[in-house]
Subunit: 388 residues, 2 copies
């Protein structure tokens, strides 16, 4: 029996895939309503292709969800996949992870295997996660096993990623790595054992930095192209080939994942007074976060072409989710753009095909059909349309 | 008849490929000795696979080399591919390009097509190159045609790149683009017409920035990995997949190409007071150029483990070319590293399998076999070996 702690957008697809591989899975999640849904065979993440049928098939049978750690007390493998946020100063906020890890620690038995999947700052697994487990269980590492295997989930592709994408796992010691690898390879086909949990942690952070830096580069090149009167998309189309992968520009990088990961490395290096080792990833972070200012200015310049006092021009921000097609506004830069324009005193409305008028209004925002606005900014195509 | 101005590492392979497509080619190059070699069928760039046979086959026949522009007076197509350097303040030094372009201008006739291939700052083709041609020829654009098609040569792969790699071409006006495209597609199979010379210029600069920024990212991640005790290469190996392409770390980025191109954009944006549009590419440039300081410190720390006074430790810098396998030290960061250590008062020798002892000594450097040194730094593998 395997337990998955955290049945969110990353944890639930993993739990479902494990259940579908023939294991009995006990999922633990603080959200009691979500647990009930899963046990009834109802999928709380309908936007995840393939998940509906897995939950329908296994929910309440091979996959039991519960808010109580004690219900998972007979499991021999505990996989922790709870969110880790950064606070307003970009420091990691370990509270949820600590609670989940201590919860596992309380039911941990000799010989059990714990695998952390949450993306974490370097050395988290071998230091604080190990300490929390030892404190709560009264066991010492060696009496239990501890490894790290970063999730590579992307909402909309989670099931296929688990089944096809390469996944890495590394132990805090050699035995932990081997034991965890043996278990994981039963449900992850494309699995690779790396030399340590620390390497596995770093792999995930490298990927995040690659994405963030390359999006910042695309944004910077976009600004230059606009300044030079060059069509960025035409240039990108012909610049990209086997050895060149210019990313897409954007209003910034939102969501739970990529924008947080560089900070894990930045904060760790700053603690070590290695300020010089993070200049690029920090600059990339700043560039991406400042894109809302760039777009706000562009929008305002376009508003001036409308024959109305600036404060009366109806501006529609179209698309407020953090990513197209995912109904999630956490750290959405599109929403940040709307709020920035409101702060500047402009007459801002929003529209998003994934949200009803009422949902928009509950966020304290004004809803409008794009056709009714004087000017619409399409956040996902970066195009400004003026009513004529 | 087609003329290629500049028979260097980029121009000669192009001239040879055009000749091999059945055209008569007149190559113009200031280096008389090089011209004589080519006319005798001897290849002055032996490290370029496939070039030997092309020069042997066409040199002095379909491909005539000359130092005199007048000898190319009957050509109807002029391709300019001469070097463009940056000066000590990273500003482009147009002197060679101006001389070559004015040389073409003097022999330019009504209906001729001029194509620039040298990588240049944005808008160079439509502004100064056009002006130089008009001034010298007395013709106006429209009476001749002008386009830009960036070379995508890489020493060691030039012939195959010309024959297989996608290449773009764009005119300073629509007719120029079309005319130049028609000619070029006779010898470049994978050719794409883009909307303007400016777009074509920008495409090449984007590619250069992509490479430079991603090498800087690799260097920054390498420093962090070392600091954390993580094997960078192991992590890179598992981080890279379809959506992630972490590059290789290095002593920096040398040679004629990539380190110059970001400066073309930086200087242009600075002129326009858009300092904020180049923060990432500028930071990347700094990180790459400062890698020699990072490695110098690592080497000195290793020297301290040798039981000798620091100034007596024989240090061998192994590999001084700017890139492995290319006998070229222009802007070599490996050479810069050797010189930095010498400046610091250390006892530095160099070794490179591509250079004889005498050639090294002619550079004013001391030569040593790596086995004789107390400590060897392998510039291409970034490994430090101590004699035991």
């Amino acid at each position: 029996m395997i337990s998955v702690i955290g049945l969110g957008k990353a944890g639930l697809p993993l739990a479902a895939v494990i259940a579908d591989s023939g294991f009995k899975v006990i999922g633990v999640d603080v959200n009691e309503k979500r647990c009930d849904m899963i046990n009834r065979g109802e999928n709380p993440i309908p936007e995840e292709p393939g998940l509906d049928e897995l939950i329908k098939k296994h929910g309440g049978r091979n996959l039991i969800a519960t808010p109580r750690y004690e219900d998972a007390g007979d499991c021999r493998v505990y996989i922790i996949l709870v969110p880790l946020f950064v606070d307003e100063n970009y420091n990691p906020d370990f509270r949820i992870l600590e609670k989940a890890t201590r919860g596992v620690g309380r039911i941990l038995k000799r010989g059990d295997i714990v695998v952390l999947e949450t993306t974490v700052p370097p050395m988290t697994t071998e230091t604080i996660v190990r300490e929390w487990l030892e404190e709560e269980s009264g066991l010492r590492l060696g009496e239990f096993y501890l490894a790290y295997s970063p999730e590579r989930i992307m909402t909309g592709y989670s099931i296929s990623r688990l089944r096809e994408f390469p996944k890495v796992i590394g132990g805090v010691n050699e035995e932990s790595g081997k034991k965890a690898f043996e278990v994981y390879k039963k449900f992850i086909p494309n699995l690779h054992l790396v030399s340590s949990a620390r390497v596995a942690e770093f792999i995930k952070l490298m990927e995040g930095c690659y994405r963030d830096v390359n999006i910042a580069l695309a944004n910077e090149l976009f600004k230059m192209a606009e300044e030079l009167g060059v069509d960025f998309y035409e240039a990108r189309n012909f610049a990209n080939h086997r050895y060149c992968d210019i990313h897409m520009p954007s209003t910034g990088v939102g969501g739970h994942c990529i924008p947080q990961y560089p900070w894990f490395l930045i904060k760790e290096m700053e603690k070590r007074k290695k300020f010089d080792y993070v200049r690029l990833i920090r600059t990339a972070r700043e560039i991406n976060d400042e894109m809302v200012e760039y777009w706000a200015e562009k929008i305002i310049l376009e508003c001036m072409k409308v024959d109305k006092p600036l404060s009366e021009v109806k501006i529609c921000i179209k698309g407020i989710t953090f990513r197209k097609g995912v109904k999630e506004t956490y750290n959405s830069r599109n929403l940040a753009l709307a709020k920035l324009l409101i702060e500047k005193g402009l007459n801002v409305f929003v529209y998003d095909e994934m949200f009803e008028k009422e949902e928009i209004e509950e966020m304290g925002l004004k809803w409008i059909e794009p056709e009714e606005a004087d000017l619409t900014f399409d956040c996902f195509n970066l195009r400004i349309f003026r009513k004529i």
